[in-house]
C-alpha cells in the first residue's frame, strides 16, 4: 500500500505538468500556478478587468466604464478575487457570478459588460500581445 501511494505521488508529479501544459494551451491557465512546475517560463502580467455599464435605451456604442469605487464593498472584494482567480485559472474561471452580482448590486442597469484582457509575450516577435474577452450580462425580464 505504501509503495502504491509513493508511486501515485511520483506519477502525479511526472504526468500532471504535461496535462497542465494542455490546460495552458486550451484554457489560458497561468503556467506559474496549479502545480505545473512551469514557473519562470513565460511572463504572466496581471489580467485587466474592466466593468462597463450600458444604461437602458442606449445603443451598443454607449458603453462606459463603471467606477469601481461606487460599488458595494462586498462586490469590490468579489471583483478583486475574480482578478486573482482569473489570472491563475484563465478561462476556467468564468465571470458569470461577478456579472450576476453586479446586476444585483446595480439595479438601475439593464446591461453590464465584464471585459477581461490578458497579456502574453509572443514567441515570434518578442512583443506583448493581448487577448480581450467580453462577457455581456443582461437583466432577465
Amino acid at each position: 500500500m505504501k509503495r502504491v501511494v509513493a508511486v501515485a505521488v511520483l506519477a502525479f508529479v511526472a504526468l500532471w505538468p504535461l496535462a497542465h501544459r494542455g490546460l495552458v494551451a486550451v484554457y489560458d491557465v497561468n503556467p506559474w500556478k496549479l502545480a505545473g512546475f512551469a514557473m519562470y517560463t513565460t511572463p504572466t502580467p496581471p489580467v485587466q478587468v474592466v466593468l462597463f455599464e450600458r444604461a437602458a435605451g442606449e445603443n451598443a456604442e454607449g458603453l462606459a466604464p463603471i467606477d469601481e469605487q461606487t460599488l458595494p464593498p462586498t462586490l469590490r472584494r468579489q471583483l478583486a478575487r475574480f482578478r486573482v482567480e482569473r489570472h491563475a485559472l484563465g478561462a476556467l474561471r468564468s465571470p458569470d457570478a461577478l456579472g450576476a452580482a453586479l446586476l444585483e448590486a446595480r439595479r438601475d442597469l439593464e446591461w453590464v459588460v465584464v471585459a477581461v484582457q490578458r497579456m502574453r509575450l509572443d514567441r515570434e516577435s518578442a512583443r506583448m500581445t493581448s487577448r480581450r474577452d467580453q462577457f455581456v450580462y443582461e437583466r432577465s425580464p
Binding site: K2, Y40, V84, E85, S125, A126, M128
Partner: protein
Amino acid sequence: MISPGQKISVWIDQGLAVLAEGADGVRRRSQLRAFRRFVLIHASVRSVLWLWFGSAPGSFGIEGGANLVAAGVVALSGVLAFWHRSELLAPRVALPALVWQALATYPVTDNHFVLELLAVALLCLVGKRSRRDETLVLSSLRWLTVIVLFHTGLSKLLYGHYFQGDFLAFMVGQGGRFADLFGLLLPAGEVARLQGYDALRTGAGPYRVDSLPLLLMSNFVWISEMALAVLLVVRRTRLLAAACAMLLVLVIQLGARELGFALLFVNLLLLFTTDGNRRVLPFVVAIYLYSLAAVFGWLPGGDWLQAGWL
C-alpha cells in the same frame, strides 16, 4: 508466465531501486531524520510568516482563525520532529494542516508549497524502524527531486522563451531583482530600452537583445536543469550532478531571491549525498531563525527576506 501487472510492478521496483542505492540503513535513517526536521521547520517558518503577514500571497481563504490553528499545528509538528519518540508522528500531524493551507490558497498556491506538501506526504509513509519504508521514502524523495528538476527545464523548452533570451530580457525590463542580476549581462542602453516598455501595452517590445552572454545564460539554464536531472539518476555522476544542481539553484536564486524555495530544493538535492542533510541542518535552522528575526524587524535584511519568502 508473468502478467502485465506483474511486469509493471517489477519495473516500478527496479525504478525505485535505482535511486535507493548509495546509503546504508543507518545513514538512510539519519538522512531522513534530518530532512524531516528540515522540511517541518521550513513549513513552520512559512506558516508563521503567512500568519504574521495576514495571508499567503494573493490568496483570500487563508486569513482568520483557521490560519492560526494551521500554523500552530505545523509548528507543533516541527517540534515533534526533534524528539525521537515522536519524529515519525510529526509529518502525519503536519499533513492535514498543509492540505488545508493548499486548499485555502487555491488557485494561487505556489509550486514551491506543493513541493513541500508532497515531500511531507512521502515522509508520512515511514513506519517505525522499517528499513523497507525508509528505502522507499528516500528513493521517492530523490525521484521527486529529479522529476521536478527535469520538468522545470522541459517547461522552459516547451514555452520557447529561453532560446533567444526573451524571458530574461522581459524580466530585466521589469526592473527589480532579476534586473539586478541579468542586467549585468547587458549594455546599459539595452537595459534602459527594455525598462522603457510598458508590458501592459499591446505591441510593447521587442523583448529581445543582441547579447551573447545573456543568450548563453538563458539556454544554459534549461539545458542544465534537464541534463542535471538525468545525471542525478546515474550513480557515477550523482554526487557531481547534485553539487552542480545546488550551485545552479543558488545562482538562479540570486535573481529570483526565493529563499524558502532555494533552501527546500537544496535540501532535496542533499538527499543524494550520504550525510549532507544532517551536516547542514544547524546552518539551515540558523538561517530560518535569522529570517524570522529579520522579517519581524529585530535584525537587518527584513525587506529582502520578506520578498524572498512571500
